[in-house]
Amino acid sequence: MANDAVADDGAVNAPETAEGVDLGGRAQRAKPFDTPKGARRIGRYVLLAGVSFVVLFPIYTTLIAALKPGDKVLENPLIPDAFTLDVLADAWTEGRLGRYLFNSLVVAVLITSFQLVTSVLAAYAFAILEFPGKNILFLAFIATLLVPLEATLVVNFDTVDSLGWVNSYAGLAVPFLATAFGTFLLRQVFMTLPSDLRDAAAIDGVGHLGFLRYVALPLVRPTLGALALFSFLASWNQYLWPNLVINEADMNTVQSGLRLLSKSNLSEPNLVMAGTVIAAIPIAIVLLVFQRQLVRGLTAGAVKG
């Protein structure tokens, strides 16, 4: 029974379930009808290659600039006619990217792990428990989904400032340790648990924590994966908040650190591009590894983009 429910734990706002999405292009939908032949086949490849070139163009120029010595960058910006790793090394030390990557990692891991725990607990409470004021609290949770981040940061800065958290991991992470979106997503799945099951467990003397751990949690594991990836990406990519709450160089995240690197080295584009490449690599790797979760997370999660 519990296993059946996994299949339709559909995301709150997603129009399609992303279960069957296949970015790898395996043959699951392969039919003769779907396969262009002869000249059309070649035409399709030409088109695909042309469009790929356009899509990749900014990445291509960035890589070339990052891998050329400073005096050669502007000579032939589109042609890789010189090669060095020195600029990447410079960006790493001058731009202090190691430190910033570490900061970003700490903050993203803090936010992700706390969001998973807080939203599992809240989702369980909303789905399984009965308590006074449940409906009003639920409405309050819904209401937070309508409030864009940008509307709260002015006051959040004051709050964080008065707590003495400017320039600290706490300042970067604490405002984001809970998520109404994740709560809803998990609540949807918990709701599919038949109440008989909980009653039976209670008769057998299994408490709520035990029930959560052995029955409810295994049910949401795929959803948790998608939620974790989504939380991690969202916190890693935050731009506005770190810029507001960090003004000490050492505490920058990768994103605000890149801003610093760019604003202070306007005449050295190759240094900035090298920094950009270094900053982009970790997420590229994460996404390659977690492709499936990405698609699930995006279809479910983009509402809070």
Partner: protein, 287 residues
């Protein structure tokens, strides 16, 4: 069990909104002191100010460029790659690749492409010959092209996201529909308009809402590419940049920033309601 979430969301989402509404209606002197509550007239004043109206117009223009273009390109790429061909997985990976770029990464890539003196395109001879304006005055520096240039960076950055979502939508359409239509003699273009697009309805509505919301929340691109300029027209000062940007006329004034933040909230709320009501009815959700 609810307490941790309730406390965080209360303190950092609901309280700041309420507090911003309160701060936003207080009028202070130029040094931020001697504040007095004056009803909601400050909201009206800020809304009617030239600077805010400009930011509103800029943001609308930005949305008008990025949203339809983002949708069309996303659908185009997804349909292009929705065929069974050897190596199609590689093309799909390429088309989704921009999803891995943060706003800072994507913006800096485009900054390098577009800068007039130390940028890539300005130093490519033949490109310069066709488009001299890329070097003088520079697309990000010319008030006539700056917003479009910033919009291109933004469209590019969200391509991967749109592509993945539309691809997911396409794979949800049963093949039988296409086969039946083909048997009835419907060509590729007819099948696209009569099957693909209607069946993509919910996906497209979803993408439309996300892209519009993002357009109104645009900050990083503007901060990195133009600092809200070129001045004095503030050609790329979006509403979010107006509230938070370093070069904004209200930079450093918490009261006015709160006013702006509340106005931004109201606009986004109105937009999502409009989109859901207006488009929700016309969308085909399947069986």
């Amino acid at each position: 069990m609810l307490a941790p979430s309730a406390i965080i969301l209360g303190v950092f989402v609901l309280y700041p909104l309420g507090r911003a509404v309160w701060l936003g209606q207080q009028r202070c002197n130029n040094f931020g002191g001697n504040c007095q509550s004056q009803g909601f007239s400050q909201y009206v004043d800020v809304f009617q100010s030239t600077e805010f109206q400009n930011a509103l117009v800029v943001t609308f223009k930005f949305a008008v460029i990025t949203v339809p273009l983002g949708l069309v390109l996303g659908v185009g790429l997804a349909v292009l790659a929705d065929k069974y061909l050897r190596g199609i997985g590689a093309f799909r990976a390429i088309f989704s690749s921009t999803v891995a770029t943060s706003v800072a990464v994507a913006s800096l890539m485009w900054l390098f492409l577009l800068q007039p003196s130390v940028g890539a395109l300005a130093n490519v001879g033949w490109f310069n010959a066709i488009f001299p304006s890329v070097k003088d005055p520079g697309w990000l520096q010319d008030p006539g092209t700056a917003l479009t240039a910033v919009a291109m960076s933004s469209v590019w950055a969200s391509l991967g996201f749109t592509f993945i979502l539309v691809t997911a939508g396409l794979q949800g359409i049963p093949m039988d529909y296409y086969e039946a239509a083909a048997i009835d003699g419907a060509g590729g273009i007819r099948r696209f308009w009569s099957i693909t697009l209607p069946m993509l309805g919910p996906t497209l509505l979803f993408v439309l809402i996300v892209l519009t919301t993002r357009a109104f929340q645009t900050y990083g691109e503007v901060d990195l590419l133009t600092d809200g300029g070129p001045q004095p027209q503030a050609s790329t000062t979006t509403i979010t940049y107006f509230v938070y940007g370093q070069n904004s006329p209200i930079s450093g004034d918490t009261g006015l920033q709160a006013t702006g933040a509340v106005l931004l909230f109201l606009i986004l709320l109105l937009l999502s309601l409009l989109q859901l009501r207006g488009l929700g009815r016309r969308v085909h959700y399947g069986e």
